[in-house]
């Protein structure tokens, strides 16, 4: 009798616990999105809506004047052979969107719309699709391969892309290394002399936007010494390329005698660079220290955290705290937002991991004002709360992680989240 009682109560306990564990995550998710501004903290006068959700690893995003949105999905190609790499949404206004279609049998990060074509990248190739007069893809099954054979070796594989106004395609090729050590990420290992990675990676390459099947030899190394760039944009005011570099990791892990855990959590800077053809940002020989405001010789190349270096390397336009992981850059050219935002830069910070055991940071969208083509005043957090609670920020167990940015046809901005595949639309309420 006692046993029977115990079994009954055990069973019902299991049932209740089971029910709870099934319903709680869903409930929480819905609650976040039903919360004011989809759970985001924004400056006064702004609002946010979730216009799409559960799209998978939603990376970069591109839009058309007709209100179509192309989202690049970096799905796991080994496991999901039938998944699609590009999702097309249509913005219906009023904070809603419809999924129109999906296509493309390649994963990856980059997507860009220009001159009647949709460009999209895998981690090794760049493709393009011809658009019709409504900016819809004509033949989703037959993209034209524009660039092929780019290096992708377990680190910094994402190939961010964009076009200028002169028929050129720019592709980021990230370094397959942290700091070009003889043994990557190994404690105490020194830097390779004349870092060979720079020949084929750690820079921005320029290709022709309309020539099929280009290889390295057809392109130009437009800028070098950039460890890894994911967020980049063409500044139309200056007619110039701007990129956000992911700074190096693990100063303390590799050189514990020179850097404390705390220093390693904040250094080096994540840098915004204004790029001219032929520029060198200095990786792996130097990094930028945002506290000393100096280019510091990397410890792998004889530095000690104080010695400066990189006399020929460019200085950043803006230096942000370390490891925040800038994955999206957008110069705002719209008229919907208040005047101070015009021509300024939005940066989507994916959030840190390399600050552990110190608290993690990031998981927000930042705004850096610009005036006359130059950074003007200090940056500020524009949209926060993607991660969830402050504890989720500190632990890095974020619900949502900002990645891509694009300006909507109506002057709002879109933010992608590559953790849960949420697409946010942020607008100014007049």
């Amino acid at each position: 009798m006692k046993n029977k009682f115990l079994i009954t109560s055990l069973l019902s306990t299991v049932a209740v616990v089971g029910l709870l564990s099934f319903t709680t995550p869903g409930k929480k998710h819905i609650a976040t999105h039903n919360a004011e501004n989809a759970g985001l903290k924004l400056p006064a006068g702004f609002k946010a809506d979730v216009i799409a959700d559960n799209l998978g690893t939603a990376r970069h995003i591109a839009v058309t004047p007709q209100g179509d949105i192309f989202v690049k999905i970096n799905y796991n190609a080994r496991r999901n052979k039938d998944a699609k790499g590009i999702v097309v949404l249509h913005d219906n206004g009023g904070g809603t969107a419809t999924v129109k279609t999906s296509f493309g049998n390649f994963a990856g990060t980059g997507v860009y719309v220009k001159n009647g074509y949709l460009y999209a990248s895998s981690d090794v190739d760049v493709f393009r699709y011809k658009l019709n007069d409504k900016n819809e893809v004509i033949d989703p099954d037959k993209p034209e391969r524009i660039v092929t054979g780019l290096i992708s070796r377990h680190e910094h594989e994402a190939k961010a892309i964009l076009l200028d106004n002169a028929g050129n395609l720019y592709v980021n090729i990230g370094a397959y290394s942290n700091s070009c050590q003889e043994k990557d990420r190994q404690k105490g290992s020194m830097g390779q002399k004349g870092c060979p990675i720079l020949d084929s990676a750690a820079g921005i390459w320029q290709f022709k936007a309309n020539k099929p099947d280009q290889h390295y030899g057809d392109g130009i190394r437009y800028a070098t010494g950039l460890r890894n760039v994911v967020g980049m944009d063409w500044n139309t005011e200056l007619n110039q390329l701007f990129v956000m570099q992911h700074g190096r990791d693990q100063l303390h892990d590799i050189f514990p005698d020179m850097f404390t855990v705390q220093q390693s959590a904040l250094l080096p800077a994540e840098c915004l660079y204004a790029i001219k053809k032929g520029d060198n940002a200095g990786w792996p020989y130097i990094y930028y220290d945002q506290q000393q405001h100096k280019k510091i010789l990397a410890p792998e190349y004889g530095g000690d955290g104080k010695k400066t270096g990189g006399e020929n390397a460019i200085d950043p336009a803006v230096a942000f705290p370390g490891h925040l992981a800038p994955n999206g850059l957008l110069f705002y050219t719209g008229n919907q937002f208040p005047a101070k935002y015009k021509n300024g830069a939005f940066i989507a910070f994916h959030g840190s991991w390399n600050r552990a055991p110190e608290p993690q940071a990031g998981y927000f969208v930042v705004f850096q004002p610009f005036k006359d083509g130059k950074p003007f005043g200090y940056w500020e957090v524009f949209a926060d709360g993607f991660a969830g609670t402050p504890e989720q920020v500190a632990s890095g167990r974020a619900d949502h992680r900002p990645c891509g940015l694009a300006q909507a046809a109506d002057g709002s901005i879109y933010v992608t989240d590559d953790s849960k595949g949420t697409i946010y639309k942020i607008s100014y309420k007049k």
Binding site: F5, L6, T8, S9, L10, S12, T13, V16, T57, N76, R78, R79, H154, E155, E157, S177, N178, K183, D184, R185, Q186, K187, S189, D249, Q250, H252, D253, S264, W353, N354, A356, P357, S395, G396, R397, R401, S419
Partner: protein
């Protein structure tokens, strides 16, 4: 309605019964005279935690959960709980393959930690195999030593 209430009571009681039983059981084990292997295990776990905080935490994180798409989690994965020689070799030789773990892909470079002593490797792996909700046998020094230099 009455039935529902009764069920709720039963459930609550069930919770209490189970948890108090578990508690008793737990304290029971703790109070039992510490056998040598158990003491050895907790010492190894404590030593391993120090190694973990120094060398592993920046990538695999304090909760062992790793980093999305980059650094693999160490929570109940076959790498951690399975064949000990496999994870021993990963620590000794490093790892830079793209892997799928529990449906997610991971890709980053893990360096070799062959500068650690065999004892430190045994300890840190024993710690990992008995933390983050993992429960698995200890890794002994004798299981690390023969793998040095073997790919």
């Amino acid at each position: 309605m009455k039935l529902y209430l009764r069920l709720l009571l039963l459930t609550a009681f069930g919770f209490l019964a189970v948890s108090s039983y578990a508690q008793q059981h737990k304290t029971g084990t703790k109070k039992a005279p510490a056998k040598k292997p158990v003491a050895g295990l907790s010492a190894s776990i404590a030593a391993g935690q120090k190694v973990y905080s120094q060398y592993c935490i920046s990538c695999h994180q304090a909760d062992g959960g790793g980093v999305q798409h980059m650094n693999p989690p160490l929570i109940k994965t076959t790498y951690v709980l399975g064949d000990k020689s496999k994870i021993n070799k990963i620590v000794l030789n490093g790892f830079s393959e793209d892997v799928d773990i529990n449906g997610d892909s991971y890709s980053n470079t893990m360096p070799s930690f062959d500068m650690l002593k065999d004892q430190e490797i045994a300890d840190v792996l024993t710690y990992v195999r008995n933390s983050f909700t993992n429960k698995a046998s200890a890794v002994k020094v004798s299981e690390v030593t023969p793998l040095r230099g073997k790919k």
